[in-house]
């Protein structure tokens, strides 16, 4: 059960933190269609956060709500991947991060539709519909911008090089991952790796981008609460009102 709770926090924190980062683009996007798509993705992710953290709160059964989990935990207790808390950079970094995560997220949710937990399967099925679209959009943009102008190609390649060392954490299973896999709640992460690699290889090739020659698993720790220095700033901003006005109702 503690492992299940922890794992649910990972799911919820991933969507919360990525949703937060994307929402920073609101009103600042390069084209109206892109603004709308980003806001929509953020909205989907916040919705998924409500479901995952809602279930986490139920499983924990300690009287906390999804909002309590989102707004009243400090960085050490957050379980999201480090990849997702990286600053947005130029839009290239944002989109590349999105694609690399979407490709993983899609496979994970697909597998979760067969979870031994009906609640998990139900949430996964709902989220999968949205994430299928996220992946479609982000892989399409990676292809078009990778194979666009010289500048867009260079930016996308630089973005890929930058975020690559953070991608391995998605597949690095620890005790929590093993426990939920054993219980049939979630798949073995190692099973997802070849699927992810295939998607990534295919999209990057179509995008005329080269897979970086760097250890893709150099950066880890987020799932265990050891984050980058960026997360603290995200939370200071995100949690301000709940922290400053404890107990108020909004």
């Amino acid at each position: 059960k503690p492992a299940f709770f922890d794992w649910l926090c990972r799911m919820g924190d991933n969507s919360l933190i990525l949703g937060h980062r994307i929402s920073e683009w609101c009103g600042h996007g390069p084209a109206l269609e892109e603004d709308i798509a980003q806001a929509n993705t953020a909205l989907d992710l916040i919705g998924q956060t409500q479901m995952w953290l809602g279930l986490a709160a139920e499983v924990e059964d300690a009287g906390r709500s999804a909002d309590d989990l989102a707004y009243l935990r400090d960085a050490m207790k957050f379980r999201n991947l480090k990849l997702l808390e990286l600053p947005n950079g130029d839009l290239a970094v944002t989109l590349m991060r999105q694609f690399l995560f979407d490709a993983f997220h899609f496979e994970l949710l697909t597998a979760l539709c067969r979870s031994s937990s009906p609640r998990v399967a139900e949430i996964a099925a709902k989220a999968l519909k949205e994430v299928s679209y996220h992946l479609e959009r982000s892989s399409d943009l990676v292809v078009r911008l990778g194979d666009g102008t010289e500048e867009s190609h260079a930016r996308m390649q630089a973005a890929l090089d930058k975020v690559w060392p953070y991608t391995g954490e998605m597949f690095a299973a620890d005790g929590v991952d093993e426990a939920v896999a054993k219980a049939g709640i979630a798949p073995e992460l190692s099973e997802l790796l070849p699927l992810w690699q295939r998607t990534v290889a295919q999209v990057l090739s179509e995008a005329t981008l080269s897979q970086p020659d760097r250890d893709f698993a150099a950066q880890k720790g987020g799932k265990q609460g050891r984050h980058t220095e960026h997360l603290g700033y995200i939370l200071a901003e995100m949690q301000f009102l709940q922290r400053a006005y404890p107990g108020a109702s909004w």
Partner: protein, 316 residues
């Protein structure tokens, strides 16, 4: 009036819709471009004061609602730019006019959003005032504009209710929350009244626009209507409208109220509002930083078209 102009005016008078490819007076076209363009720009710039609180929204639910609202605004921008495009001006041209300062956006968005209560006040008062303007425009004479307005009004009134709900939570919340709510009302009341434009006696172009059914009511009519609807809402919230002269006038069946500070209004229009530079700066930065993105997509589209052409050629 030429025979064409007369025929045109008669169609307008009969409440027929004018469609893009039909003949229209140059003034009609220009006025519409200016009005629809300004409206579109307002939707786009109007994202910024609210985007300012998305990352700080106090609950997941409120964050989702605010995201959806900002997304809607971008969508409204899209409809309106499309409507303007039917008049022969492209979205990029309109954007350049915005960024160069050639075209304006609603001056309300040059005021900052300083507390969470402002998310309530903006929804309640700003969207409220916008709706007051827009509802009659659903019957405007230009077809594409009228249809855009119908879609937009539906969503806007939803936004206004959400804003009022935020305001309600704040007004009924802790003393600090109530203080924020009152402060938000204090700050947004007069700027909201300014949204209807200068007093009728100072308003230019109005008569022609009304004849063309581009403008459906006078500024003062709409302002009065807004005050009459909003004051009871404020009372219901337990908040005080920041106007000591406000009182019910039985005779006219509406409130007497103080004029906004028109000197401030013209200062803001001129670029000296609290956030003019931030707002336009943010949009310029977004546009400039996005150049590589737009160019990349265009280059890909060109390449893809060339590839398709080549493979069609090969197939022939």
């Amino acid at each position: 009036m030429s025979p064409e102009e007369r025929a045109f005016q008669e169609r307008v008078d009969r409440n027929e819709k004018i469609e893009p490819k039909e003949w229209m007076p140059e003034g009609y076209r220009k006025t519409l471009i200016r009005q629809i363009g300004q409206h579109a720009h307002s939707e786009i710039v109007g994202q910024l004061p609210e985007a300012n609180w998305i990352t700080r929204a106090p609950t997941l639910e409120r964050k989702a609602i605010l995201l959806a609202k900002v997304q809607d605004e971008a969508g409204h921008g899209l409809y309106l730019y499309s409507a303007a495009e039917t008049l022969g001006i492209s979205r990029d041209q309109l954007t350049e006019k915005l960024l160069s300062g050639d075209m304006k956006y609603s001056s309300i968005f040059n005021y900052p959003t300083l507390t969470w209560a402002d998310m309530g006040a903006v929804g309640w008062l700003v969207d409220g005032a916008a709706i007051m303007n827009q509802v009659p425009l659903q019957r405007t004479s230009y077809g594409p504009y009228s249809r855009a307005m119908i879609r937009i009004c539906k969503e806007e009134s939803f936004h206004q209710r959400q804003g009022y709900a935020v305001m309600m939570k704040m007004a009924q919340g802790t003393p600090e929350q109530k203080e924020m709510a009152q402060d938000a009302l204090n700050r947004f009341w007069f700027p909201a009244l300014m949204m209807f434009g200068p007093s009728d006696k100072d308003s230019v172009h109005s008569a022609q626009s009304m004849a063309w059914k581009i403008k459906m009511n006078t500024n003062d009519e709409l302002r009065q209507k807004f005050v009459d609807e909003t004051v009871p809402q404020a009372e219901f919230l337990g908040l005080t409208v920041p106007d000591e002269t406000l009182r019910w006038n039985e005779e006219k069946g509406g409130y007497d109220f103080a004029e906004p500070d028109w000197a401030e209004f013209f200062e803001v229009i001129k670029g000296n509002g609290p956030c003019n530079e931030e707002r336009l700066g943010a949009r310029r930065e977004a546009w400039d930083n996005g150049a590589w993105f737009r160019e990349g997509l265009t280059a890909y589209a060109d390449k893809a078209a060339a590839r398709r052409a080549a493979s069609n050629m090969a197939a022939e």
